[in-house]
């Protein structure tokens, strides 16, 4: 019953609608320029929301839980990188994107937890809800950076391999058999000249992080975050970015549904791994956050209700902020993998199993 209701929510409805019309062979096309501006507006809005929430929160009180939220968001991505991605035939970028989505936070899952805490009369800090951007944004940034590092390493390997392969042809070039060098791949040229300077074969991490932060997705999100933190964008946020959010998201979900449909076949041999991951991961992520929350509970008097909130936002996976960010930040990742894992399994597990579990755990420990 509740599951049907969930499927009828506009976000999911448009996603499924996109899959259905793609399956029926619709010729509907949303122009790329429109997708670009929608992604820009969605990510700017996500950044603005986070920035305004952080600016309005009392950082002194929440410094330790906030730091733990950041740590959890980052750790969740690395867990996916070194578990899900290592499973047979699972594509690494898909696994990293899935980790990013599970690190990001679902507002509605958090809202369900807050409602339940109030019903059970378990007290929690008023700012507990403001913890979510501290986990959400670092998780998505980490996923994009880690994916870009992986993609770069892979490219280098391929180039190195192709250099080995081409050694023979290079001798031919030297011998004058290929007088025309116009088609010489410039990227390899760059690589070779770079090699001279470097003197070694390691991928430099920092330039890739810089590159990721400069990409359109993280630029927009961090711009929104900075504007939310340091300026007063409330008027334009309330009149424009916030009201347009759900509507623009519905269009993008339709596009992602069509894209997901065209790539759903890739999941044939790996779907079971995504199911296994999506059932276990919410508990693992929640337990990490719960453990860190208990440290804050004993050292800073962080309430048990707050610990539950931290655990629940860790076990939740984003249906809202995540997909547009990952689509723009890791375009090669398969949306049917990461959205499928999060929406079809991760979110029901988080809402139906993790919330009662962490609530019970808190009552057992704290009561």
């Amino acid at each position: 019953m509740d599951f049907v209701k969930q499927l009828q929510s506009p976000t999911l409805a448009f996603l499924i609608g996109g899959m259905v019309i793609a399956a029926l062979g619709s010729e509907l096309v949303i122009p790329e320029a429109i997708c670009t501006i929608i992604v820009f507006m969605l990510l700017t809005k996500i950044g603005l929301t986070g920035g305004i929430a952080i600016r309005n929160s009392n950082l002194a009180d929440m410094v330790l839980p906030a730091a733990f939220a950041v740590v959890t968001g980052i750790v969740v991505v690395f867990i996916a990188r070194y578990t899900l991605a290592k499973l047979p035939k699972v594509k690494t970028v898909d696994a990293i994107a899935t980790g990013g989505l599970f690190g990001a936070v679902s507002g509605s899952t958090m809202a369900a937890a807050l409602t339940l805490l109030e019903e059970e009369k378990i007290p929690y800090e008023a700012w507990a809800g403001a913890l979510y951007p501290f986990m959400d944004i670092p998780a998505l940034v980490t996923a994009i950076v880690v994916a870009n590092i992986y993609i770069n390493k892979k490219k280098r390997k391929e180039v190195a391999y192709s250099i080995g392969q081409e050694s023979f042809s290079e001798q031919l070039v030297a011998a004058g058999d290929y007088p025309d060098q116009k088609d010489y791949p410039s990227s390899r040229q760059e690589y070779l000249s770079q090699q001279k300077g470097d003197g070694d074969n390691r991928v430099k991490i920092w330039p890739i992080i810089e590159e990721s932060l400069r990409g359109p997705a993280l630029s927009a999100m961090l711009l929104g975050l900075a504007l939310g933190l340091f300026t007063r964008p409330e008027s334009v946020y309330k009149s424009f970015y916030d009201p347009a959010f759900r509507g623009l998201l519905s269009i993008l979900m339709l596009v992602m549904g069509m894209e997901a449909w065209s790539r759903v076949g890739e999941l044939r041999k790996v779907a079971q791994w995504y199911v296994v991951y999506s059932v276990i991961a919410p508990f693992v992520h929640g337990l990490i956050a719960f453990g860190l929350g208990m440290i804050a509970h004993y050292t800073m008097n962080f309430s048990m209700g707050g610990v539950v909130v931290l655990a629940v936002i860790a076990s939740s996976s984003s249906d809202i902020s995540g997909p547009p960010t990952l689509r723009a930040g890791i375009p090669s990742a398969n949306p049917s993998a990461y959205i499928g894992a999060s929406t079809a399994v991760g979110t029901p597990v988080a809402i139906g199993l993790c919330i009662p579990f962490f609530l019970g755990l808190a009552q057992a420990l704290g009561g």
Copy 2:
């Protein structure tokens, strides 16, 4: 007085504004990507409105009037196809598009009728207003399908003719005079190979219907209809698709005004036929619906007020849902023909003459 007011409504004002700036040689251009997304949003909204209205209505009560609305919507298109389109020099696609617009429903004409019924204290079913999508959407779908069937048949004839013409050149090809066959039209190649399989020369209707339904216009409208019927898109409908509708429509009307201006010359020799059609058609369409409504009156106790509503929505022609749908669905049709017929003649006739006529008829028969 009322006519001036009508012209000042935003929808018409932007249409006329577009014609004026086109006449003055403005270089204003609305990018095609923007027109595409506007059409998508308008048609999705039209579908959503219809779908939500149908979901919220009690289908059991209204099954017969709703079926009659569907029938009327379809019949209206075929009337235009076999009357207006047969008049000398009238282009068939323009006539079919005009039929689609006259089959579609004007919300404001319907609202005028409902107001008058209330003033005259003639009772009608509360769900009578919900009959409009049952006429509106089938009429537009039928128009697009019928136009595509016509265009396909015409192309086949031209190909067949050109084959006859080219038989001589084909002999030359066979004789080796045209060694380079790269430019051979692939569509004809397809046609020839298709011919082999078919063994006859008839146009297959079903693939064209499928093709029409898969096109961007009907995809978006039927997607909206399905989402409105089977999911709960109210939140995104109320916050996004509905409030943006009039504004986006104003931009598209401006574009259509500019397009209509550039093609108004085509109407020089046929304008009189459009005037004749636009004066007679509202009465004919209304009488068909009135007759069908009387059947429902005698068999299902459908109120006389409801019969009037059905007749009025049949005599009305759409200024809102129709133009964007037809622009996307039958791009070759001349907007100055169909919008001119509907706006300049059809709508004033429907509001000023048909509403009082059908009201009087109902009072004469039912009182």
Copy 3:
């Protein structure tokens, strides 16, 4: 304190944000189709606002002050054309665009003046605020026309020069050395044939004015103005163009910030002239309007409060309507010049110095 608040306003915040992310090398791109439609919507909205304000105002009462507002708006542009543009190394188009921005009106500067007048209990006509479109729109139109005349004259000179240069090559052509004339610049051909008809070398002004009015920027603004004046677009204005304005402006300001950053280097040798102009111009413009206002005061009994309003809107420079108009109307002008001059110096001078100055002047003269 107030300066920091000003910088935190969404419009400026997004402008600075755009400069910062451009400086950091962000790869964020807003598609050109999106910029086009944003500019269209902003300029249509500016025109609609002006048109509706003029339609709702009692023109008979305000005819002289309104005429003086128009005169001031036009004069301001010519002042910039013959002072700022003549300073060493200042680019003429940049100077004209800056003049246009200083002729256009800042709504918030005007609001500050109206508030102060009320606090000081100085009476002014209720329609005084409606004077602003009479100065705003003529200033922007004049700037675009004057810039286009300048650009045309410059092109003619270059062509004339290149004809001199090419006389030798033309002899070669005549001698048969250049058999292929395909690449012959068509614009010069046009020029030559035009020369024959003209018989002289003067630039014709009227075709350039027509051309400017037909351009996308002024087309949209004048369309909005006409629709606001002659039709009833209030419903679509209130539901669409007005609420979307600030949000769309924020996106365009971001784009203009990125563009301004890439051209800020051009200002290195001329920045001091822009500072000098931006400090002096608000006083000069205000005094002209104040003088004209005094004429209306003595002849038509225009209140002293109204004279102050007229002077303040003349000394203000537009942060809202100006930038999008000039970006579309004079694309070659450097936004870091005109926005920098207006925002960084002109507006603070107008608010902080000109408002008290003209208020004191009115009290000294009128009290």
